[in-house]
Amino acid sequence: MKALARGALPWLLALGVYVFADDQLALGTNALVMILLTLSVDLVLGRAGIITLGQAAFFGLGAYAAGIFALHVTDDPLLGMLVATLASGAFGALSGALILHTEGVALLMLTLAVSGLLAELANHASDWTGGSDGLQGMTIAPIFGSFRFDLFKHTAYLYALAVLFLWYLVVQSVIASPFGRSLDGIRQSPPRMRAIGTPVWWRRVAVYALSAAMAGSAGALSAQTTRFVGLTTLSVLVSGTAVVMLVLGGARQRYGAFVGATVYVVVQDYAAQLNPFHWMLLVGGLLMFTVLFLEEGLTSLPQALRRWARALYRGPAGTTAAGATGTGGATGTGGATGTGGSA
């Protein structure tokens, strides 16, 4: 029951934002899009251990696919979403099949190269993509013919939330399945998995394609809710940001992508209002704090705070008692709080 409550909390919060903070729905929609993108990175990088800085390729491809589909075929959003998701998934399978023979830095470079190629292609095919001006002028029909995309993003927000929820269910089901467990094994030790008969390359291609489809959905959401697609959707910066969000929230944590992307988007928004030139400083500081002191990202902050509080409460005087009951790790991080607190 407690687990169920904890699992439902993020979704209740998201609905709470819709009800109580409906002047923030544009920001909220953006956060939901980034959560979905980060969740796709968690699947491929966090779970399967495929080192990638190329997720923007699939995000951007999904965005352009949805935009071009809306302009040239039909403005139905759900069809557009489906087409964009399938297109990105197919491109993920294709490019993954080519590059997933490699590992480590070579793979990292290849993922960069693929997204770079796609960005260059989009820049040149300006008849289709609008080039550096971006893809503009698309209209998106009401969902099911009745829910119009309004200026205040009510529909957009709930639409993004629904798409995110569906993908969340898919991810949860995948990671609990034998397939997901084999991915976990592939991350930890590819030689071991080969030794028990796992076709490692195929599994990696499969999860890469699934993750690409997911990123494509995120791209389509971005295109449909803003009615604009820019070349930046394909940029390395998007890939990098998604990885940062994941590290911030915590890889392989159930709601790591949710926490990481939300914190990033909100901090970026507020910090940019405070100081439009140096907002990155705050994000950078937060990232460093997380990486240095929170092994499992911001999602583990509550446990860490409890641990630190306990260590502080017992203090140096209680070393005998604390040493006997507390673990070595707890006392070690306790020391870290001291420096954090005085800074």
Binding site: S173, G180, Q188, A195, T198
Partner: protein, 251 residues
């Protein structure tokens, strides 16, 4: 012979650059064979094992598993054809529980590792079999612990349990007792003695007691080629083996 060989190797050769590490090795294992492979350090024992399991590809020669040529196959395909091995260097999934390490292997054997839905009942069966296999080899009590917390001897037993879970026809054991504290070696002895009698087994091992007790045939590898083969008694008595290997390590 009417019954096909479980494993047949002919003229297997491999060089790393200009350095030949395996030179025309012939090897035959009938079902139920207990063959020990010994040789001094650098004789190419682990290279031979890597060639057999498909981690590296031979320059020349033939490897047949149950009559099928597999020398161009990758390791995972050979596993599905009935060849399993253990590793000398630890490749176990450290963050995963011992039981899941075995269950994942069983899921691969049962071809359900692709599934993302309608797997619950069969995954449960994988778990139950995994638990039974851990009990059988004597480490049932640590089934739920992550592997990196296990003692070294327990990890070696887990290696064997995983290989057995694949139900191989041919099992390659790469120094199962290496690094195991001497007090625990007897546990490995017992586990090896209980291996299914129909399984063909090739044991690479430094521990001479273990090899001579386990194997009915011993192959001596020196500088990448087979120096001698025969019963443990013959091998012990062979002066060439003594000078190449036993003499040095037993003085």
């Amino acid at each position: 012979m009417s019954e096909p060989l479980a494993l047949s190797v002919r003229g297997l050769s491999k060089s790393f650059g200009a350095l030949p590490v395996t030179r025309g090795v012939d090897l035959q294992l009938v079902p139920g064979a207990r063959v020990g492979l010994i040789g001094p350090n650098g004789a190419g024992k682990t290279t031979l094992l890597n060639l057999l399991s498909g981690v590296i590809q031979p320059d020349a020669g033939e490897i047949q598993l149950g009559g099928v040529s597999v020398e161009r196959w990758g390791p995972e395909r050979r596993v599905r054809r009935g060849l399993a091995r253990t590793h000398q260097i630890n490749t176990l999934l450290g963050e995963t529980s011992a039981q899941d390490n075995v269950a994942i292997a069983i899921a691969e054997r049962e071809r359900i590792a692709w599934r993302t839905f309608s797997y619950r009942r069969r995954w449960q069966a994988c778990q139950e079999e995994a638990r039974a296999r851990l009990d059988e080899i004597g480490i049932g009590s640590i089934a739920q612990r992550p592997v990196r917390e296990l003692a070294y001897g327990e990890q070696r037993l887990l290696e064997i349990a995983i290989a057995l879970a694949l139900r191989p026809r041919v099992l390659l054991l790469d120094e199962p007792a290496a690094g195991v504290p001497s007090g625990e070696v007897s546990v490995i002895h017992e586990a090896l003695a209980r291996l299914p009698s129909k399984m063909a087994i090739l044991l690479i091992e430094h521990d001479m007691d273990l090899v001579f007790r386990f194997a009915t045939e011993i192959v001596v590898l020196v500088q990448g080629s087979v120096l001698s083969r025969g019963s443990p008694e013959q091998t012990r008595a062979d002066p060439r083996v003594r000078s190449a290997y036993l003499g040095r390590s037993h003085t």
